[in-house]
Symmetry: C2
Subunit: 156 residues, 2 copies
C-alpha cells in the first residue's frame, strides 16, 4: 500500500459517489429495518438469520457455519442467537459429532414468523430500492457489488 502522504484526495466525482453511497445506505437500510420492525416485529439481522436457516437442510446449521456464510463474527452470532432463542425463534442443540459445537435450529414458530414476514419484506425492498431503479441500474448495482466483493482483501 502506498504511503499516506501519497494518497490522492478523492476527486469531485469520487466524492459524490462516496457520499451518495453513504446516503443511499442510510436511507434504504433505515427504512427497510423500520418496515420490518413494524410489519413483523423483526430486526434486520433477525430476518437474515431466519432466512438463512429456512434455506438450510433440516432447518439447522452449526453456529460457526452460519456466521461464516453471513460474514458475521462468531461472537455476534452467539449473542444474536441467544436473543432469538429467548423469543422462541430458534433453539440450540448439542452437536453429536463435536462436543464443542452448537447446532442452531429453526423452531416452528420461527418458520411461521419468517413465512409471514417475507412478502412484506419483499414489498419493502421493492418500495425502498428495487422499484426505484431501472433494469439497467439494477444490473449495474449487481455488477458493482460483485466487483467489490471479489476484490476486497483483508488488511495486512
Amino acid at each position: 500500500m502506498a504511503r499516506i502522504e501519497e494518497t490522492p484526495w478523492l476527486d469531485p466525482g469520487q466524492q459524490r459517489a462516496w457520499r451518495g453511497y453513504r446516503r443511499l445506505r442510510l436511507l434504504v437500510d433505515t427504512r427497510v429495518a423500520r418496515d420490518l420492525a413494524v410489519d413483523s416485529g423483526l430486526s434486520d439481522p433477525d430476518y437474515d438469520v431466519l432466512s438463512e436457516l429456512s434455506e438450510a437442510s433440516g432447518h439447522r446449521r452449526r453456529l460457526g457455519e452460519l456466521a461464516e456464510r453471513m460474514l458475521w463474527s462468531q461472537s455476534r452470532m452467539s449473542h444474536h442467537v441467544k436473543r432469538m432463542q429467548q423469543r422462541g425463534l430458534v433453539r440450540r442443540e448439542e452437536c453429536a459429532r463435536d462436543g464443542r459445537g452448537a447446532e442452531i435450529v429453526l423452531t416452528g414458530e420461527g418458520l411461521r414468523v419468517i413465512e409471514e414476514a417475507a412478502p412484506h419484506h419483499v414489498a419493502s425492498v421493492r418500495r425502498n430500492l428495487i422499484d426505484l431503479l431501472t433494469a439497467e441500474q439494477i444490473a449495474m448495482l449487481e455488477q458493482i457489488a460483485d466487483t467489490v466483493v471479489e476484490r476486497v482483501e483483508p488488511r495486512p
Copy 2:
C-alpha cells in the same frame, strides 16, 4: 401501495442485486469502520460529525441542524454528541437566540483529530471501494444513489 398479496417476488437479477448490495455494504462498511478505529480511534459516526462540523462556519452548528443535514434523529445526535463531548472532541454551548437550543462546537482537539484522520480515511475509502471500481462504475454508483435518494418517500 399495492396489496401485499399482489407484490411479486424479486426476479433472479433483482435478487442478486439486493444480496450483492447487502454484502457490499457489510464488507465495505466493516472495513472502513475498522480502519478508522485502528488508525484514528474514531468510529464512523464520530468521523461524520467531526467532518460536518469542520465544514461549518465557525466550526459550530445547532444540534438539530446537524441531525437534519446528516439524516440522523435528534435523539441519536444528542446521545452521540454527549459521548464525543466526554472525549473532548466537541463542546456544547447555549444558544443565544433560543433558550432551548444547543450549539455544538468543534474543539481544538476535535479539529486536530479530524485533520489527522482524514488522509488515512481517504486511503481506506479508496482501498475498500473507490479504487476497486472503474470510472464508469463510480459514475453509475453516484447515479444510482442519486436516483434512490431523490425518490425515496416517507411511509404513510
